[in-house]
Every structure is written in C-alpha cells, then in structure tokens.
Amino acid sequence: MSEPETSTVDLNGFATRVWRKGKGPKLGFLAGYGGLPRWVPFLDRLAEARTVIVPSLPGFPGGDRGHSVLDTHLDWVLAVRDAIDKSGLAGADLVGSSVGGSFAAEVAAIWPEKVKRLALIAPFGLFDERDPATDPWAQKQEDIPGLMTADPDAYRKLKAMPAGANSVEWPIEQTRANEAAARIFWPLGNTKLERRLPSITAPTLLLWGEKDRLIPRSYAGTIAKAMKARTETKIVTGAGHLAELDKPDEVAAAILEFMR
C-alpha cells in the first residue's frame, strides 16, 4: 500500500487535506464517522481502477477545526460543496460513507449536475422512532470500535496512533472528528435528508453492512423508497457500519462494478 499525494484546499479559512491516488476517471470519497486519520486499503482498491480523490470534511482528520465555523445545516452543505469543487470532483462519481454519505446525498440532491453516479454506504440523516439508530455519542469508549465495524479491530486499526505521531494532538484530533459529527447530527442523526432524496438524479448504489449496529438496515429501504433516481441496494455480508473498513475488497468491487 503506497501513500497518496497530499494537497490542501481552503475551506472557510481552514487548510483542508485532499488525498489523490490512481489513474482513470475521477472518483470522490467522503469518509464516515471518525474520518480518516490514515490512508486505508479500501481506497487502494478503488485507486487500482480510478483516480481516487478524498477531501477531508471540516473538523475530521485533515479538516482542522473547520467545523467550528459551521452553525447550520446550510453552512455544512455549502462547505462540502466547496470541498468537492475545490478538489476537482464536480461532475465526477461520488462515494460517501456514514457521515460522509449523508453529505454526498445532500450535494447530489441540491446540485444534481455535480454528481454523475452516487454510492452511499449506510448514510446518516434519517431517524425512525420505530427502529431507532444507536446513539454513537453515548457509548463507553471501549464499545465504539464494535459499534463502527463488525470486527472491532478494523476500527481500532484505523484509530491506532502511528509511531512518531504527536501523542497529545492525536487523541484530540480523533475526539474532534466525533465532535464534528455531533455538531451536525446531534442528537438523533436526523437532518431530514429524506425530504431531499427525491431531488437526486444520479443513479445510486446503496450499500449496507449486514451487521450494522449503528444505523438499522431498514433505513436502506426507506431511502430507496424515497428516491426517484434508479437505485440498487446491496447488503455487504459480514460488514458493520463502516463496511468499507470491514470488507474493503467487496465494497470497492461493488462500487467499481456499479460505476463501470
């Protein structure tokens, strides 16, 4: 696994990391809960066939304290649109997972011309009282990995402090990612995304981890039903909420196939 090229774009005055790797047509990725403190095998799989571009979300690893100036849902959606424009992803295929999945869907709904084809991995944005999503912000620290991935080690590996990292700033950066997610999705994760789903025109692949303990699988049905664009739903066997960490090969293959 080789490292990607790293550059930064300015989002509301915050230098925001953009990763780029691979060849071929562009494919964007917006990360899930916890963000991406390091490059992951899933992105390598995608980069084998495509130019993968990964802008950080405000407040997530690589996104500095960009969340701190975003107060409303509109502020957030505009910041993500800017991230997509500035990293050269306008009009390209877009993949979003979890938190990032919600933003990918928003951009595709509000600016349909910016997203050619869409893949959503268990996006935030909905809440169903009859089948409530789990509260990720009221968990014992040690229970978080098992909530995020079917194999808790997959999430632990993502978050483990690398040798040579700043031992004070690293944990603060990980907490910041959780705060950034809370800032937009507290307390229920419900941004009423459902209302905007009918505006999406891009063909959409819905991926859901079979063992997602955070967001119930029934939400995939709700999303598919609300959409007017063509959708395809795929349950990822053996994967949890962040399916791309549990099953990088399967998830990448499904996306590449859908966006061929």
């Binding site: 107060d71 912000w137 620290q141 907490t175 705060e179 809370a182 507290w186 307390p187």
Partner: protein
C-alpha cells in the same frame, strides 16, 4: 468568611441494590423509582431545612439546577428560590444557577432572576453554570459542540437585558430577538452579583477570572483534590494582575459535625455512603459527549497524564480535567476511603474547624458552600448538623479574611423599606 448552606435535594429512597440493578442515577434513571407522594414530603422537608439554615444564621441558602437526576430534584431552582424568598428575610438567595444555554430565549433567565431579586428585596446571587453533560447534552439534547458558545452568547444577552434602558434588538449567532425589554428589572444595580459554578474546565475558571465573577468550584471530592484547579485559578488571576481577594472564589464541601468524632461517624457514614454510592452512580456512557470538554481542557488533561507517567506516578483519584461522569466512575464509595480521600469533612466541631481552616487557607476561599444534607441524611440530623455548625464552627471561622472586601455579595434594599414576612399563617401551621 461567608457561609452558604447548599441543598442538592436528593431523592432519599433509592433502593439498596441501586448500583447493581440500575445503570445510572442520571439521564435514564427509571421512573418507577420515583414516588411523587414521597417526593411531596421530601420537597417540604428540604425547604424546611433551607429555611432552618437561614434561621441559624447562614449568610446564604443555595439551590441548583439538574435534569433527569436522582440526586438533584431541582429542574427549576428558580421555583425553590422564589419560595425561599417569601419565607426568609435577610439571608442571601443563591441560585447556582441557571444553565444559560438551555433557556430559549435566554431572556427567560433575566426575567426570572429579576423576579426573584424583586420578591426578595435584592437578595439574589445569580449563578450561571455551563451545566453538566448529563443535564445539558443528554437530558436536554443541546448540541455539545455549540453548548459553550451558546452559553457565552446567552450571558451577553442576559447582561444587556438587565442593564440597557431601552428596548433593543439582539442579533446573535444563536439568538435573535427583535424586542428585548424585560419586565421586571432587578433591584440590585447594575445587576445581581454573578457567580460561575464549574467543575474544573479550564475555560470556565479562566473566563470567570477575566469577567471578575466569583468562581465556585463545585466538586464532591473535597479540598485536597481541588488544589490543582484553584491553583490554576489564582495563577490566572495573578497573570491578569488581579488581587488574591478570597471572596473571588467559592468551594462546595460536604460537612458532618457532631459532639465527637465517633458520633459523627455514627451519624454520617450511611448518608455519605448513600451519596457517593448511589447518588453519584452515573453510567460511563454519559461521560464525554464530544465537544463538551474543550480542546484546551483535553490538552491540559493529556499533558498532565503524560507528565505523571513520565515521573512514574500513578494518577491519584479522578483527574481534575476529566469530565464529571468520568470522575464519578473512579471515586471511593466506602466511608473509610471517602474520609481518607478527603471527600467529606466529618468530626467534632474542633476537627471541622481545623479542616475547614486548612481548606479556606490552601484554596484561598472566602465563599464557603456547605453541603450539610447529603444522601439520605434525615431531616432531623440535617438540622442538628446545621445548628451545631452554626453554633460551634461558624464563629471560629467567621473572622477569616476580614481584611478583604466582599464585592460579590448582594446589596439588598434597606430593611425598613422591605416587605415584612407574610402576616397570615394557616392555623394548622401555627400550632
């Protein structure tokens, strides 16, 4: 030295197996444990105890705000404060306080505090806590990432509402009001003294220092554990070029006094173990909503852990930088450790005088808040504790800090101008 008698109003009948059978005293404590008819008696006893403390000569009686909480039955401390305003004459009414970010619009706080100030004849101390994570983010659903900024803005709004003469428009980040014009207005000019209760967040005491407000460290863990936070506060004061006036700071302490040390143990062991065992049993799930603890406070906490590890020292007890629920995970729950760790001060009047003198001296505290009803302590023993303290402890500590001016104390109307206590007493109550 000022003596403030502080009631938390705990539900006194949590079952013996509460810790084993129930995950948390806070946020999702089960409704089946609450008997409203028992609460009727508790509330009335609690109010009696506060009024009794006023009668015994305490300088202030205090209440505070908690939500979905089995050890704090005051979602609205203002209701309690208004009742106390009508049943006391000279004692300061200290509300510690209203969690500003939870009020929509925050002018509600300006209004209600002004009402209490008017009813009491200018005896209100206005406390503004940020509020615990359990109260603010979980029970009330406020976004932890916005909480502190909302708090600061609400503070600015309340202050302007109290002091501006004309109706004004408030154009804030979180609050927008076209017509701000509160009626009634507070008696105290320019406004009641502002006290900031906190549990150790760096920002909170730093801000209190900058604003020249009283910072009240509300810890349940005694003065030995409080040294770091108060040291930080006084260093910040020095940095700002402000004096070490001890009335700038308050501290809450659980106290049980009796004729002898043995008698004190006999009286206060069960209620202390009830308090630390059952009342402070909070689910670790509610320890750290992200964003509640600011990055500066996180940084201070991690750096002090790293430093301690490097020096080969184990962290002694809960870290002062940890969130309140995290602290509650690791605390001592049996009387021996409760006393050894210095959470409570129990003993004969002389024991208590000696320890409180050390507390006041080492922390440099002029506003001493006393938790004299704690856990399931009976009303009778609470009154005994209160009376004995007033008679045997208070006089010996009273002269401390006489050389300093307490600029943060209410300035009520002159006594002759004030309304008298209600003349009408129902026959049954008078008998």
């Amino acid at each position: 030295m000022k003596f403030l008698w502080f009631h938390l109003m705990p539900y006194k009948e949590l079952p013996d197996d509460f810790r084993e059978k129930h995950p948390s005293v806070w946020v999702d404590i089960h409704s089946s444990l609450f008997d409203p008819k028992r609460a009727h008696l508790m509330y009335n006893e609690f109010l009696d105890e506060l009024e009794y403390a006023a009668e015994c000569g305490f300088d202030a009686i205090c209440c505070n705000e908690h939500h979905s909480n089995g050890y704090g039955l005051m979602p609205s401390p203002n209701l309690i404060a208004s009742a106390l305003s009508r049943r006391t004459t000279d004692t300061a009414i200290c509300v510690l306080g209203n969690s500003l970010a939870l009020y929509n619009p925050p002018t509600r706080v300006a209004e209600e505090f002004a009402m209490i100030d008017c009813i009491s004849g200018g005896r209100l101390i206005a406390g503004f806590p940020v509020g615990t994570p359990m109260d603010t983010t979980y029970a009330y659903g406020t976004n932890p990432s916005h909480l502190r900024d909302r708090y600061y803005e609400a503070h600015d709004l309340v202050l302007r509402a109290w002091t501006e003469k004309d109706t004004f428009a408030f154009n804030g980040r979180y609050n927008q009001q076209r017509y701000v014009n509160i009626w009634p207005r507070p008696i105290q000019h320019p406004h009641p003294p502002i006290w900031i209760p906190g549990a150790g967040s760096v920002e909170t005491w730093r801000w209190a220092a900058q604003m020249d407000y009283v910072f009240c460290y509300l810890s349940y863990y005694g003065y030995k554990m409080a040294q770091n936070v108060m040291k930080g506060f006084w260093e910040e004061m020095a940095r700002l070029g402000k004096d070490r006036n001890p009335y700038r700071a308050g501290f809450a302490q659980v106290v049980g006094v009796a004729e002898s040390r043995q008698q004190a143990y006999d009286l206060y062991t069960e209620p202390a173990e009830y308090f630390y065992g059952r009342c402070l049993h909070v689910d670790a799930r509610f320890a750290g909503p992200p964003g509640y603890v600011t990055e500066a406070t996180q940084r201070a906490g991690i750096e002090s852990q790293v430093k301690m590890a490097a020096e080969g020292r184990a962290a002694g007890g809960p870290s002062t930088n940890a969130s309140s629920a995290t602290k509650m995970q690791s605390l001592a729950r049996d009387m021996k450790s409760i006393v050894e760790n210095g959470y409570v001060i129990v003993g004969s009047p002389d024991d208590v005088v000696e320890q409180l003198r050390e507390l006041a001296t080492t922390l440099n505290i002029g506003q001493l808040m006393l938790l004299m009803q704690f856990g399931n302590l009976s009303s009778e023993t609470t009154k005994y504790n209160t009376r004995l303290f007033a008679e045997k402890v208070m006089p010996k500590l009273r002269p401390m800090f006489a050389e300093w001016e307490n600029r943060w104390w209410p300035k009520p109307m002159e006594k002759r101008q004030r309304a008298s206590l209600p003349a009408f007493m129902p026959a049954t109550a008078a008998e």
